[in-house]
């Protein structure tokens, strides 16, 4: 077939559906509209990766806790995704609301509605007021407060106004209007109790819904175009995890990961079909200017044919060239990297003298036996990769713990669920960790780990954490003895843990939920607002009790 690109003619794509929306540029060619939400919500492949928690890389729904929750809820609808991303907020889970929601989700018998009418408003969340909007709905539709007052109640309950005198006014109004709706006293009391216990933790539904749309969009991309998607995640410097985690995810998804190459790599990561090629941007200490020089010159005058050719054409420092050689960006020359290092030395030397052609020189040098310099050892290659990219490409770091991981007593992540409730030994590599404070104020930690077969969560409850806290400050391999959680076959409840490598946690521990306890969105409430809303509600009270009341 004729290659139209040669003639600079773009082929018209008749099959494409062009939908002009506000983002018209996106829809020109591909055969899907990423803003067609109904299509996204019904897409089987997308639903499947959400349901299975295979959402690493997907905005808002990629944390270990979220992925496990998605699995637990068998979540694959938009509504459920909105609910899931709300109940997993820090602090909310600890409040017991999440557990209540999961229980009711799994067992319809447990779905309770204080007043039958409530099912109409809270059916989506099985009677649990998970959203701030739910609190407003119940206070308004069931108890008869005005919408303004209902919002005020919600805000007041989540903030420090909770015990104030003005709050009493709101309380009295609530009972008054609820009575007007002919609700029995004990029901009103219980309704108030439920609202006060949920209000503080409820989350803004609109916010979650807006974000969940984006989650669905990126999940669709991951499901259908994993290579392009993960390349983009890496180019945008990831999300929740470090680049290493996404590189390993590529491999788990069966993608071939290619090292940077001066002849193939773009600046950004690039993915297509079954491969992902690391962009030049991954090479730390390579300046942006040099990257542009490499790709710009290549686009203008074609591929580089030899190291000499490269050095001749690209404005680059010797140090940077060595960096590229060491990490494999010249492997296409089919010379060992140490040989290329030598060659580089001569190339730069002759570049500065310009006495004779670089090409002759290179061929001459190669014919003099440089070809025979052996390649670096595997360990050295890995060390260079780690130093250059911050992650390993040709191997998984756990490969260096072969003695341990292949031991027959060590259980692999993919086999964990066969050991429900049993004590097992595992080896895992650090992905991320999360410290939280329990309701009793004790600190515990979730360590997200991976082995060559998959990912898993190591849970350190406070009593165990207090013994091993300092052991978990490292960020490498861990050996674990623990019991597989009967409730969640992907969790191991740690009994003993040991750091197997001395690699220290690179990132500064920053804010985490152990310090920042989440009490829902705390909005400011002022006394005058109570007065305002009181006056607004007069109409309702009048309509309920008539003018004489």
């Amino acid at each position: 077939m004729l290659d139209l690109r040669k003639y600079n003619i773009t082929k018209k794509d008749d099959k494409s559906v062009s939908i002009t929306r506000i983002f018209s540029k996106l829809q020109r060619k591909q055969r899907f509209d990423i803003y067609d939400y109904n299509m996204l919500f019904q897409d089987e492949k997308t639903k499947k990766i959400i349901r299975n928690g295979s959402t690493l890389g997907c905005f808002y729904i990629e944390s270990p806790g979220m992925r496990s929750l998605l699995k637990k809820l068998n979540c694959d609808t938009f509504e459920m995704l909105v609910a899931a991303s709300s109940i997993i907020r820090p602090g909310v889970a600890e409040s017991g609301m999440m557990q209540e929601f999961i229980a009711r989700h799994k067992d319809p018998q447990k779905r309770k509605y204080l007043v039958p009418e409530m099912e109409k408003y809270l059916g989506e969340s099985y009677g649990v007021m998970i959203y701030q909007e739910d609190v407003i709905k119940v206070a308004h539709h069931i108890a008869g407060l005005s919408l303004e007052e209902a919002d005020l109640l919600r805000r007041a309950m989540s903030g420090k106004m909770r015990s104030s005198k003005t709050m009493e006014l709101l309380h009295d109004n609530f009972f008054l209007t609820a009575k007007g709706k002919k609700l029995p006293d004990d029901i009103i009391k219980e309704l108030w109790r439920q609202i006060s216990s949920f209000a503080g933790y409820a989350f803004c539904k609109a916010h979650s819904a807006s974000f969940a749309l984006l989650s669905f969009q990126v999940a669709y991309l991951k499901a259908h175009y994993p290579a392009e998607f993960l390349a983009s995640v890496l180019s945008n410097r990831g999300g929740y995890y470090s680049a290493a985690v996404y590189i390993h995810e590529c491999k788990r998804l069966g993608l071939n990961v290619f090292l940077p190459c001066v002849n193939k790599s773009k600046i950004k990561y690039y993915g297509k079909d079954k491969y992902l090629s690391i962009g030049l941007m991954a090479v730390k200490r390579l300046s942006r200017k040099t990257m542009l020089n490499i790709t710009g010159e290549r686009a203008k005058n074609g591929k580089y044919t030899s190291l000499g050719d490269f050095v001749d054409r690209v404005d680059i420092a010797p140090k940077e060239t060595e960096l590229l050689i060491k990490c494999g960006a010249f492997d296409f020359l089919e010379q060992s990297r140490p040989a290329l290092m030598w060659l580089s030395y001569f190339c730069f030397k002759s570049k500065n003298t310009i006495q004779y052609s670089l090409f002759d020189n290179e061929e001459y040098l190669l014919s003099q036996g440089f070809m025979n310099i052996p390649q670096y050892q595997v360990a050295q290659i890995c060390a260079v990769e780690y130093e250059t990219f911050g992650f390993l490409v040709s191997h998984h770091p756990l490969d260096f713990f072969a003695k341990f991981i292949n031991h027959k007593k060590i259980v692999k992540a993919k086999d964990m669920s066969n050991y429900n409730g049993k004590v097992i030994k595992m080896i895992g590599w650090f992905m991320t960790s999360k410290r939280i404070k329990t309701r009793k104020g004790k600190i515990m930690k979730f360590l997200s780990l991976e082995d060559l077969s998959g990912t898993f969560e190591a849970v350190l409850f406070p009593n165990v954490y207090s013994l091993y806290a300092e052991e978990t400050l490292s960020a490498g391999a861990f050996g674990i003895v623990g019991r597989v959680d009967t409730d969640n076959g992907n969790n191991i409840v740690v009994e003993r843990i040991k750091a197997l490598s001395t690699k220290e946690l690179q990132t500064e521990q920053t804010k985490d939920s152990a310090e920042n306890i989440y009490y829902g969105e705390v909005d400011a409430v002022h006394d005058e607002e109570f007065e305002l809303s009181k006056s607004l509600n007069k109409k309702i009270i009048n309509s309920l009790y008539g003018k004489g009341a």
């Binding site: 690109r5 773009t10 082929k11 794509d13 506000i22 983002f23 060619k29 591909q30 990423i34 939400y37 890389g57 905005f59 701030q132 909007e133 407003i136 709905k137 919408l147 303004e148 007052e149 209902a150 919600r154 803004c204 539904k205 609109a206 916010h207 819904a209 807006s210 974000f211 749309l213 984006l214 990126v218 991309l221 175009y225 392009e228 998607f229 390349a231 983009s232 995640v233 180019s235 945008n236 410097r237 999300g239 950004k268 297509k272 600190i443 406070p462 954490y465 806290a469 300092e470 400050l473 500064e508 521990q509 804010k511 152990a514 310090e515 909005d523 005058e528 607002e529 305002l532 607004l536």
Partner: protein, 546 residues
């Protein structure tokens, strides 16, 4: 009588008085006023005003401005009224942003609306004595052992030149013993150790808050300086109208005469695009929302955000709305977000209602590559003189306080980072007993209870929540109804490269003064969406042309 010359810890790494403590101090001493005059900044002014007004104490808002080329030339400016306050904001902005700034040129400005107080003889000998300067200028007198000779000179100069005199007392720390803390922060500022700290790096040990009794005793023989101070206090009456919104004005196109009509029409048109079947319920809801928005005074604000989003989409930027705005049908029509509030049964009242006194939060996420472009547009569209990014104040936390204090005690970086590893993200207050609070800090017990670390963590804990340096808020941008410097001073956000100008007060103060912020945040996942789609488009077209 308390001092009119006070530096809080917002005189970064120099003052050590917390604004809260300063106001409490004024209350305790039964003072009718409290003054704040930080060096070249107004970080704390709005906060001071808010706290003081709540206690029915009059806030005296001012600043000490020094000359960038000679810090011995300095002058305190106190605002007599709102106009004076605005002018002070502009002076501070000039001091921080203009390269050719020199303090003496401020004396050529219209100084009718402020008092000038200075103890700089060099400056006094340099400035031009216009009638207004003569009227509002006071030579600053205070008594400490160290300053005695200099103050005498000042007094004589004032008498010779027939200038007014006033008693103050420069305060940089609360109590005399807090001098130690002043030395600590000064060493941090100087990036040196306590042992190497020189006298010129620190202020007079007597620069603590003097009590009214002390003032009375010291100036018994010269009552004029006290009565002048009292006159200044009486004539300083700034009302920042805290809590009252100062909305931006939307510049209507020539064809429009009414903002509300314009907004309604835009929403109506968009509504027909969004819904194929327009029920009465939908129509009524839109009308109701528009009414509430208008009654609360947000119409112009919505038009402003609409125009920003419209421009972003015109430039093919991707956006996603965050926060409660997705509860609003109007916000949906204006494309602030993509959630259909009718289909998802969302409540407008959660976003905005007649009983709410706080402004609605409209936060829009952009892909990080596209956001800067939009921020630039906002500056161009609404005027560089009316727009600013909001700052955020970085404060000392356990790790940073520990590191800085350990450094000035001469501990090595290696040693420091060994300890720091065991300090989690927490308040610096917890440092002395941190091994009790956190399991990962257990091994610190011995060292932290033994010298020199015992003192180090003790001192570090006293720096808890102290402002450290200003940074840029991740997305907050503010558009003022008139010159932005009428409301707040500006400075360069030093840590983000040259060019970004931010408000000196942080978002809380900005909110208190009534400026409404819009959050334009950067969101990596939108970048992922953009890059993926681009790559897929390219790959698909390549495959198909083979």
């Amino acid at each position: 009588m308390i001092s009119l010359h006070v530096h809080s810890n917002y005189s970064l790494l120099q003052g050590t008085i917390r604004v809260e403590d300063l106001v409490d101090y004024a209350e305790k001493e039964g003072s009718s006023f409290v003054a704040l005059t930080d060096t070249n900044v107004m970080y704390g002014l709005i906060k001071l005003a808010k706290l003081a007004v709540a206690k029915k104490i009059k806030p005296i808002l001012g600043v000490l401005i020094d000359d960038p080329n000679n810090i011995d030339e300095h002058c305190i400016f106190l605002a007599k009224n709102n106009k004076g306050y605005s002018q002070i904001c502009r002076f501070i902005t000039d001091r921080n942003i203009r390269e050719d700034f020199s303090i003496s040129e401020l004396f050529l400005e219209d100084l009718e609306n402020m008092f000038l107080i200075t103890s700089s003889l060099e400056l006094l000998k340099k400035i031009e004595y216009t009638p207004i300067v003569k009227k509002n200028l006071f030579v600053e007198l205070f008594v400490t052992k160290k300053w005695k000779p200099k103050v005498r000179q000042l007094y004589e100069f004032a008498r010779e030149q027939n200038l007014e005199i006033v008693a103050t007392h420069p305060a940089y720390f609360y109590k005399a013993e807090d001098y130690e803390l002043h030395k600590v922060v000064s060493a941090i500022k100087k990036n040196t150790t306590l042992a190497k700290l020189e006298d010129t790096d620190i202020v007079d040990p007597e620069f603590y808050l003097r009590t009214p009794e002390e003032f009375g005793k010291l100036w018994k023989s010269l009552p004029e300086v006290i009565s002048n101070a009292e006159r200044i206090v009486k004539e300083c009456n700034v009302d920042l109208e805290l809590g009252k919104y100062k909305f931006p004005h939307f510049p209507l196109p020539n064809t429009e005469s009414d903002a509300f009509n314009y907004l309604s029409r835009i929403c109506g048109t968009e509504l027909r695009k969004k819904y194929t079947v327009l029920t009465t319920q939908i129509r009524e809801r839109l009308e109701y929302e528009l009414r509430v928005i208008d009654q609360q005074g947000f119409t112009d604000y919505f038009l402003v955000v609409w125009e920003i989003i419209k421009e972003a989409h015109k430039r093919n930027a991707l956006t996603v709305g965050r926060g409660s705005a997705a509860n609003s049908l109007v916000a949906y029509c204006l494309n602030f977000h993509q959630v259909d509030p009718i289909a998802h049964n969302l409540y407008f009242e959660r976003f905005l209602n007649m009983a709410r006194t706080s402004p609605p939060d409209i936060d829009i996420d952009f892909s990080w590559a596209e956001r800067d472009d939009i921020v630039k547009y906002v500056f161009q569209r609404f005027g560089y003189d009316r727009v600013a990014m909001i700052s955020t104040m970085i404060t000392f936390r356990a790790r940073s306080a520990f590191r800085e204090v350990a450094k000035i005690f001469g501990l090595s970086e290696t040693k420091i980072s060994q300890y720091r590893k065991h300090i989690p993200w927490t308040s610096a207050k917890n440092l002395p007993t941190i091994y009790e609070h956190f399991p990962e800090s257990k091994s610190l017990k011995y060292d932290f209870t033994t010298e020199p670390l015992k003192s180090i963590v003790e001192i570090a804990s006293r720096l808890s929540e102290f402002p450290r340096h200003i940074s840029i808020h991740p997305g907050g941008i503010v558009i003022a109804p008139s010159l932005i410097t009428n409301f707040t001073a500006l400075e360069y956000a030093a840590n983000k490269g040259i060019g970004i100008i931010v408000t000196q007060p942080d978002m809380y103060s900005i909110e208190d003064i009534g400026l409404v912020k819009i959050d334009l945040l950067s969101q990596r996942s939108l970048g992922v969406l953009r890059d993926s789609i681009d790559m897929i488009t390219q790959n698909v077209s390549e495959t198909e042309s083979i």
